[in-house]
């Protein structure tokens, strides 16, 4: 089969001309009118936004504070919009919208190495040399991406960081990785006409197909699949979903936060906010899974944890998360978009000699919200010093099963690895009862 130039190409060129022909007010209004219509149509499309706090966030200082314990640290808990649920004093804006969010305080995940934890939390499976499990974004891409015919951009986008591999689901479901500035390098064909592109692609297909036919495993076919995705992307008008600057400046400011609160010392200020706003634009366009790196200064806080959180990490995270919740709510999308916040593990309840916390997977928290779940809850419990779980504990598979439920992906979905081994979605995890009602 030949690589195709999609129908959308001429449409996109039309739009580009329109936009550059002079950013005249009527033209802009026309575009935003189109966007508004598109948003109306796609509002009911389910999606997940994963906020990935890579490095291992100290959840004991954010979502599950231990005032009065020797492990308690420097922060005080504050009340939130969810009755009876308290979070850190450094997340005041998020506290105000916490009726739309929940915290799972009894994660117990045993992997305290960055690489292994990253794999485990993203896939629901511990690393295994005989199989590469798909990162959950690839699972959602596989389940929901193919049925969204109108979606021309990849069904799984990561912003500002890496995620994982699509594993046995194939490169077709690989994450498309972009920076939070939304610039996509080399997407501009530099004046290559549609005719030339077609000529190139037909020659390319001859060479590619011959090589695929020589039977050397899956890679040659994956290459062709990726090219088709890339061609769809670069010729699509949906590319504008990456352009955060098309949003109203006031809205962007809310995501980024203003004034001293965002931490003027933070060179990453704005990165995460822009990323989350882009995520909203992407899910609005129909992308079912977006992963955003919570890049607010790094989470691997072996030293100086309190200073880093209070002055660097938490202010921009607070602004961005609270703005996203409000924005999704304003647009009537919050019930369709499930939000997840996690890292590869938590951090030691004990504070080390460098006023830091080390790696800890035995008892820590994830945040989850939106998605039509029963939010405003704190689920699960750790003991008074935060070192153990009291009662039921949860695994990443349970989080992903809850997400699957929210997205309408059947939990009896079973994949088959390349070796023919059956694998249940979310490693057979169970949706968290309290959240799905």
């Amino acid at each position: 089969m030949n690589l195709q130039v999609p129908q959308g190409m001429s449409r996109r060129h039309f739009m580009q001309h329109l936009a550059t022909a002079a950013a005249t007010v009527p033209a802009m209004e026309f575009i935003s009118h189109l966007q508004a219509n598109a948003a109306e149509v796609k509002k009911k499309q389910k999606a997940c936004i994963l906020m990935w706090a890579g490095g291992g966030p100290p959840t004991i200082d954010i979502w599950d504070l231990k005032p009065g314990s020797k492990n308690g640290g420097e922060f005080k808990p504050i009340d939130t919009a969810a009755p009876g649920v308290q979070i850190t004093e450094h997340m005041p804006k998020t506290a105000q919208v916490f009726d739309e969010l929940s915290v799972v305080r009894s994660m117990s995940t045993r992997e305290a190495d960055h690489g292994r934890g990253r794999y485990y939390m993203h896939t629901g499976y511990v690393p295994n040399p005989t199989v590469t499990h798909p990162t959950f974004g690839s699972v959602v891409s596989h389940q929901l991406g193919t049925e969204r015919k109108e979606l021309e951009i990849p069904a799984f986008v990561t912003i500002g960081g890496g995620s994982g591999s699509p594993g046995f689901l194939g490169m077709r479901n690989a994450p498309f990785s972009v920076g939070s500035n939304g610039q996509i390098r080399n997407a501009d064909m530099g004046g290559t006409s549609e005719g030339r592109l077609k000529q190139r692609l037909s020659m390319l297909s001859v060479i590619e197909d011959r090589f695929i036919g020589t039977k050397r495993g899956d890679s040659p076919q994956s290459h062709k699949d990726i090219y088709q995705n890339a061609i769809n992307l670069m010729t699509s008008e949906q590319m504008k979903a990456f352009k955060v600057d098309e949003e109203k400046p006031e809205l962007l400011e809310k995501y980024i936060g203003t004034g001293s609160q965002t931490g003027m010392m933070n060179r990453n200020a704005g990165t995460f906010g822009r990323g989350l706003l882009m995520a909203r634009r992407l899910v609005e366009t129909g992308v079912p899974f977006v992963e955003v790196n919570v890049s607010v200064g790094g989470w691997d806080l072996h030293n100086g944890v309190f200073n880093a959180l209070a002055n660097t990490n938490l202010p921009p995270m607070d602004a961005a998360i609270s703005a996203l919740v409000a924005d999704l709510k304003d647009r009537g999308m919050l019930d369709d978009v499930v939000l997840v916040w996690m890292g590869e593990f938590g951090r030691t309840p004990r504070i080390n000699q460098n006023v830091g916390r080390d790696h800890w997977a035995a008892s820590w928290s994830n945040m989850i919200g939106g998605g039509g779940l029963k939010n405003g809850q704190a689920i699960g419990k750790t003991d008074a010093d935060g070192v153990g779980i009291v009662g039921k504990s949860y695994l990443p598979g349970d989080i992903w099963a809850t997400v699957s439920h929210a997205l309408g992906i059947p939990l009896d979905t079973v994949f088959t690895s390349k070796r023919g081994r059956p694998m249940k979605i979310a490693n057979g995890g169970t949706p968290i009862k309290e959240l799905i009602g």
Binding site: P129, G162, R200, L204, T214, H223, K418
Partner: protein, 558 residues
């Protein structure tokens, strides 16, 4: 059969015994397939090194035991492209392919291997590989990439015994450009983490074992214990980095000057916390060798001595496994740097023997490359079918080396291959030194850092949309296919006495390292002949070149 026997007779007695065992097992196991396997035993690159026969027999044993049959030997063009990419880091220039194909010497593969090992590009390729392994691809402030490269360049150009390279790295001290080896340590000292990252990296990269999980607790999946991590760690605790600054009269500011590694006073044990909260101590101890924790001891010097001693130290196994992995895409373990009883090797006898011989050779890295590249397995095609379908490690199966595995090109290999494909290295327009810097800048777009204490990074290079977009629309491709005077297409199209057939052949040879198939020649030739207008014809050649560079066959090392 008689031919095999006569070769066997020439081997040393110890090998004969091992070989005989191998054959006997083979015959008992599965007579029919063993016979077929042996029928093809006549394959040779022309090398008469007895160890290669041993490698071949051991790999064949795996085929027999698993009742599979190997793929055919790769033809000259397929193998040549591969051995160039693996040994010198770029595809072969078109004129070399013609020479190689015309050469009728039965030992021409061995000759080519030896020639490539003397090519300066071998040193460059190994330098790039080990620099990336040591300090990553990202630019890290106050770490000198050029210093690190210089260290490896000198080591590989002298073919310094690997043991000495490791010794020099482990004991390195001083100025980061005068002794480039210190950059290895500087790169692992980005956080004030009590040398945790340095410990994790050193054990993985040079010893081939993963102990980083045991930093916090005994690991459930391997035999390493928490105290062993800290015993290794205590060797590195005398190390200190100093980041010098200097006044710049032009800017009136203090600017970064050089970095260095010095020794600091550190005696006694290190303390770590058990999961129970109990604080315990660990003294410098390498496996079973304890060293004096007193102030007289230079602990890294001791570490360097201990890891390089003996008949088959971990550094030998780690290097053998990594280099095998470099050439085949998979080592004897997956991944190559996680060896141990919890993760058994696919070919334990072969790995042991290769490690032993590597030590006996005086840790001769070039010799190790010769052994691997002259082996039968390395010379097989990457095509495979029914008879060896289960040999598919990409699908999670064990690697049996009954065919070559398709590997993604490294970013550096692609960059250098584009230079070769367009002949830019010959026209004097690009020197390798200049391109080294440009290549590094270009590569940053594909490097993704994880914010962790291990300073680990991933690349979005292989098989991704950004890569596809870069190949379709990026400057490298634009430059390559430009018809500028003096450029590759210009020269190809204006060569006197040429024809469309010849031009098309040149384009295929320069990119894919092979001639066009009949069908490809017919399709492209037919198209070119139809075009009368020079501009149209030029455009068609540009499009063909574009298609070749964008193809799966170009971007994969197969």
């Amino acid at each position: 059969m008689p031919r095999t026997m006569s070769k066997t007779m020439r081997m040393r007695p110890t090998i004969c015994v091992l070989l005989a065992c191998g054959l006997t097992f083979g015959l008992l196991g599965s007579g029919a397939s063993a016979q077929k396997s042996r029928a093809k035993a006549s394959f040779t690159t022309g090398s008469n090194d007895v160890l290669i026969k041993y490698i071949d027999e051991q790999v064949r044993l795996g085929w027999t035991d698993n009742e599979i049959e190997p793929s055919e030997a790769a033809d000259g063009t397929e193998w040549m492209r591969r051995v160039y990419l693996d040994v010198v880091g770029h595809i072969p220039p078109a004129e070399e392919i013609d020479k190689f194909l015309a050469d009728e010497d039965p030992v021409k593969r061995t000759k080519l291997i030896n020639r490539l090992l003397e090519d300066p590009a071998y040193v460059r390729n190994m330098t790039t590989m080990w620099t990336n392994l040591s300090i990553g691809r990202r630019n890290i402030r106050r770490v000198s990439r050029s210093g690190m490269r210089k260290f490896y360049r000198e080591a590989f150009s002298r073919n310094q015994p690997w043991k000495d390279v490791v010794y020099d790295l482990m004991s390195a001290e001083g100025h980061f450009e005068k002794n480039g080896a210190v950059n290895y340590w500087l790169a692992q000292m980005q956080d004030r983490d009590e040398m945790v990252q340095a410990t994790a990296k050193t054990t993985r990269l040079f010893l081939g074992i993963q102990v980083q999980c045991t930093q916090c607790h005994n690991h459930p999946f391997n035999d390493w214990k928490q105290n062993q991590f800290w015993q290794f760690n205590s060797f590195f605790r005398q190390m200190q980095k100093v980041e010098h600054r200097k006044y710049d009269p032009k800017t009136g500011r203090q600017e970064d000057d050089y970095s260095e590694i010095i020794q600091r006073d550190f005696t006694g044990p290190v303390y770590f916390e058990k999961r129970s909260g109990l604080m315990v101590v660990a003294y410098p101890k390498y496996l079973t060798d304890e060293v004096d924790p007193g102030e007289e001891t230079d602990r890294r010097e001791e570490f360097a001595r201990l890891v390089t001693k003996g008949d088959r130290p971990l550094i030998a196994e780690a290097m053998v496994n990594r280099m095998w992995g470099h050439f085949f895409g998979y080592g004897f373990t997956k991944p190559v740097d996680d060896m141990g009883p919890h993760n058994p090797a696919t070919h334990p006898d072969l790995m042991d023997r290769l490690s032993e011989e590597f030590v006996k050779s005086g840790y001769d890295v070039k010799q190790l490359v010769r052994w691997i590249t002259n082996s039968e397995a390395y010379n097989l095609t990457s095509r495979f079918g029914e008879k060896n379908a289960i040999d598919n490690p990409a699908a999670g199966e064990s690697q049996l080396f009954s065919h070559m595995y398709v590997k993604g090109m490294q970013a550096e290999q692609l960059y250098d291959s584009l230079i070769v494909a367009t002949g830019a290295h010959k026209s004097g327009r690009t020197s390798w030194d200049e391109s080294e810097k440009q290549r590094r800048d270009w590569m940053q777009q594909f490097v993704v850092a994880f914010d962790t204490d291990e300073a680990d990074e991933a690349t979005t290079f292989n098989g991704t949309i950004p890569q596809a977009l870069m190949m379709m629309n990026g400057d490298l491709t634009k430059d390559a296919i430009s018809a500028e005077r003096g450029g590759f297409l210009y020269r190809t199209l204006t060569t006197p006495g040429s024809s469309d057939t010849k031009r098309i052949r040149t384009l295929f040879l320069s990119t894919l390292g092979r001639q066009p198939t009949r069908r490809e020649a017919l399709l492209t030739g037919g198209m070119m002949r139809k075009l009368k207008d020079d501009k149209d014809k030029l455009a068609a050649y540009q499009d063909l070149f574009w298609a070749l560079l964008n193809s799966n066959e170009f971007i994969f090392n197969h």
